[in-house]
């Protein structure tokens, strides 16, 4: 079950009705707030159970481990080290065992034997949440959580378990302790963010996926323009897919009484690689910055060390994204691009709007070209796509209309968001969410129409989330 599945919507509606009914009696009985939180935890486990009961066992076991280690992690390096190593080993076992076996096998020319290991739902995300929790306790950012249920909810919360955002304990626990429940105003905002994310996912990303899959499967069959269009389409697909998921997660969290920070901030208007990573999957980028880049020394130990740190962090980020050589190479290439971007930014004296536009275009081109490695099945496939882009040749011409529609959506919404954010003096382009006042007839009619359009235009073929695999 994923956030964009019909079944989830049905279960979630029923669940929200129950929470809302409890909210009605909450003023009279304070304990109802705690009941609501327990129900949230149960619903989270139900959400995981719908994928497999084995995943529930994994999440529960990891929660117990994090809870116990957390109690002793404060300023205790040994305990913290145990916590980190065990978390990484668990992630490594489930996610990377077969990868390492096959790579060693290939290296020594032996036959590859794979072990039948399940990949637990959202393991990359909740392991990172757990690690952040332990490190924060060690650093005394906040105290260890005494209430087991709170830790359990933090690790398993259904909105974020599949593909993030990786919410920090300092943002999550205060909301649990002052849990507000289901409020109409938050519901009205949350449902709009959810539907907006659903539109991005099932209308834009999933339609783009059809074309991208075709071209990446047989890149040599298509002409130059089509291959270029497919690469652009993939850059949009992955953005709409993941930011759509994040929107849905933020939306459902808001509906049930939690506020998550935006996870994307118009990444394709970034003016450099570093800027891109501050705008793309913000919760993951900031995780790597706080828990890997800075402990490695960050930019405090000279230029050379900074570059090495950047490449290490990006390589690890690549490995985190997937158990495959292409992901690691994608990460390393991003690291190198970040170094080059840093050199250019440091040495560049030219400033001005024209230069900014050129930087934005250059950053987008680099990011889009590197997405090819990320998407490709192997290096030969990636090479064929790149070759297809840069050599003029005949082939199938497929001016895929959904690509043009997606580009138009991205341009219009970006311009609107930037203009609105500048007007309001906001750092994040929150104007990206078209929040309407649903207490009035016309905005409500617009919202209903948008819901209808989302269903009408939706693609219901292969709808798995790209980031859900990680």
């Amino acid at each position: 079950m994923t956030l964009n599945s019909f079944h989830f919507v049905v279960y979630f509606v029923a669940f929200v009705v129950v929470l809302a009914l409890l909210q009605l009696v909450r003023r009279k009985y304070e304990v109802v707030g705690k009941v609501q939180l327990i129900l949230l935890l149960l619903f989270s486990y139900f959400f995981i159970y719908k994928s497999s009961w084995k995943f529930c066992v994994c999440v529960f076991a990891y929660t117990c481990f994090v809870y116990v280690v957390g109690l002793f992690a404060k300023k205790n390096k040994v305990v913290l080290t145990i916590g980190i190593i065990a978390s990484i080993l668990m992630l490594g076992y489930f996610k990377y065992t077969n990868f390492f076996i096959s790579e060693f096998g290939r290296l020594f020319g032996s036959d590859t034997v794979t072990i039948n290991i399940i990949l637990p739902l959202g393991i990359s995300f909740y392991t990172f949440s757990g690690l952040a929790y332990l490190i924060d306790i060690y650093r005394e950012t906040y105290p260890a959580e005494k209430n087991f249920l709170n830790v359990a909810l933090y690790i398993s919360f259904f909105a974020k378990i599949t593909a993030g955002p990786i919410v920090r304990g300092k943002d999550f626990f205060p909301q649990v302790k002052k849990y507000r429940g289901v409020e109409l105003s938050a519901f009205a905002v949350g449902i709009q963010i959810f539907v907006f994310g659903l539109f991005k996912k099932i209308v834009l990303a999933d339609h783009l996926g059809v074309f991208v899959d075709d071209v990446f499967f047989a890149p040599t069959a298509y002409n130059t323009a089509t291959v270029i269009m497919a690469v652009i389409s993939y850059s949009l697909q992955i953005y709409f897919d993941f930011s759509g998921y994040s929107d849905m997660a933020i939306g459902v969290a808001k509906i049930v009484g939690f506020d998550f920070k935006p996870n994307f901030n118009l990444p394709y208007i970034a003016k450099g690689m570093s800027d891109f990573w501050k705008r793309w999957h913000i919760s993951l980028s900031s995780w790597f910055q706080d828990y890997l880049y800075i402990p490695l020394g960050g930019s405090r130990k000279g230029e050379l060390r900074t570059y090495i740190n950047l490449i290490i962090v990006m390589a690890v980020s690549g490995l985190w994204h997937g158990a495959g050589i292409t992901f690691i190479v994608w990460g390393v290439l991003h690291g190198i691009a970040s170094c080059i971007s840093r050199v250019i930014t440091k040495s560049g004296k030219a400033v001005g709007k024209g230069i900014d536009v050129l930087r934005t275009i250059a950053t987008y081109i680099v990011v889009a070209l590197l997405w090819v490695v990320f998407r490709a099945s192997d290096f030969t496939n990636a090479w064929n796509v790149w070759k297809g882009m840069f050599t003029i040749h005949d082939g199938i011409f497929q001016p895929y209309t959904w690509s043009f529609f997606a580009i138009a959506c991205l341009l219009v919404s970006t311009i609107m968001a930037v203009v609105r954010a500048k007007k309001n003096g906001e750092k994040f382009a929150n104007g990206y969410y078209p929040i309407l006042d649903l207490s009035k007839v016309i905005p409500l009619a617009i919202f209903f129409t948008f819901c209808g359009l989302t269903v009408l235009l939706g693609y219901f073929g292969n709808t798995a989330f790209i980031y859900g695999r990680f």
């Binding site: 019909f6 079944h7 007839v441 009408l456 073929g461």
Partner: protein, 331 residues
């Protein structure tokens, strides 16, 4: 009082949304309700002159003819009758580009198309007699198929006169709901959404999915009896039957096109047609040539997966050209 006001707001907003969505649906995806066929020549037809729009697979806005089929016009006398599935219904392309319209351009004959969705080869054969009685073609009947491996059970059902026709026409609530243009497409999408949540698969034609494995000899006997029905139906009418086969295409990783055809079944089908005196037109070589020379596939559109789904205007044109040659060459 407050609740009443909220309900009123909710209802008003819903009505406005339905109106806006219906306006959009009229452009994006709209068909009128299905009505009973004239005399079992198909499962259903549309209301005379009804409007159909398609933007989710191809782009077309068309009006059905007076009989409720997809033709530019009706004829007083028909020379060539074209039967087939949604490929021949062809609501994804302009009516001017369909096989029937192209044949009307290429040949000095009147060609009339009664293709509808789901009316596969099996059903065409089953309804051939009625179709001939209703439309009285004088020269040819063309039956389209995308499958040369019909299921044995279905062939036997046609032979035994026991094939259950699809329930094509709309009645009751199913009919009424379609007068709200947004209702049917949204309802269909919701159902598809619910189904996709259970299984993530994309539909398509598979030549091998449902084939009962039997000895070639037994299969050939059944196929012979089945195709003999066509000969029996046209006997004494002076009509020449033609079966036109267009295979589904798929791209290989190396960029070549593969056709989802079982070579043995194709051979058997062609041989049986030859034995019975039915003209069999296999579009595979034409599609291959079109791809090799122009990099064009016969199926698929610029808003769908490449090479999948219905025949596009290039596919229709290639078929019409080939049929025109076959018919023209005979005369």
């Amino acid at each position: 009082m407050k609740i009443t006001r909220i309900c009123l707001r909710f209802i008003t907003a819903s009505l406005i949304a339905i109106l806006l969505l219906s306006m959009f649906s009229m452009l994006y995806k709209h068909t009128s309700p299905h009505v009973e066929p004239i005399a079992n020549e198909t499962f259903y037809r549309w209301e005379a002159g009804s409007f159909t729009s398609t933007m989710e697979e191809g782009f077309a806005w068309i009006n059905m003819d007076e009989n409720g089929y997809n033709n530019l016009k009706c004829f007083d006398s028909i020379d060539v009758l074209l039967m087939g599935s949604s490929h021949m219904k062809a609501i994804q392309i302009s009516t001017e580009d369909t096989v029937a319209s192209k044949l009307n351009e290429f040949l000095p004959y009147s060609t009339y198309n009664i293709g509808i969705s789901g009316h596969s080869f099996i059903h065409c054969v089953n309804n051939l007699k009625s179709a001939i009685e209703v439309f009285k073609p004088s020269k040819y009947v063309i039956i389209e198929t995308y499958n040369v491996s019909p299921e044995l059970d279905e062939m036997n059902a046609v032979i035994g006169g026991q094939l259950v026709p699809n329930d094509g026409s709309d009645s009751g609530i199913k009919r009424l709901i379609q007068y709200v243009p947004a209702a049917k497409p949204i309802l269909n999408q919701v159902l598809e959404w619910a189904n996709s949540s259970s299984k993530n698969s994309v539909g398509g034609y598979s030549e091998t999915d449902n084939i009962t494995i039997l000895s070639d000899q037994k299969r050939q006997l059944v196929l012979y009896s089945f195709l003999s029905i066509i000969c029996d139906d046209v006997e004494g009418t002076g009509i020449t039957p033609i079966i036109m086969y267009h295979p589904s295409e798929t791209l290989s990783e190396d960029g070549s096109v593969q056709y989802k055809t079982n070579a043995d079944d194709l051979k058997m089908f062609a041989k049986t047609c030859e034995d019975l005196g039915i003209i069999f037109v296999d579009m595979t070589p034409d599609f291959e040539k079109m791809y090799e020379e122009e990099h064009i596939l016969a199926h698929g559109f610029i808003n769908t997966a490449v090479g999948t789904g219905h025949l596009n205007k290039y596919g229709h044109k290639a078929i019409a050209e080939r049929l025109a040659k076959v018919i023209g060459g005979e005369n």
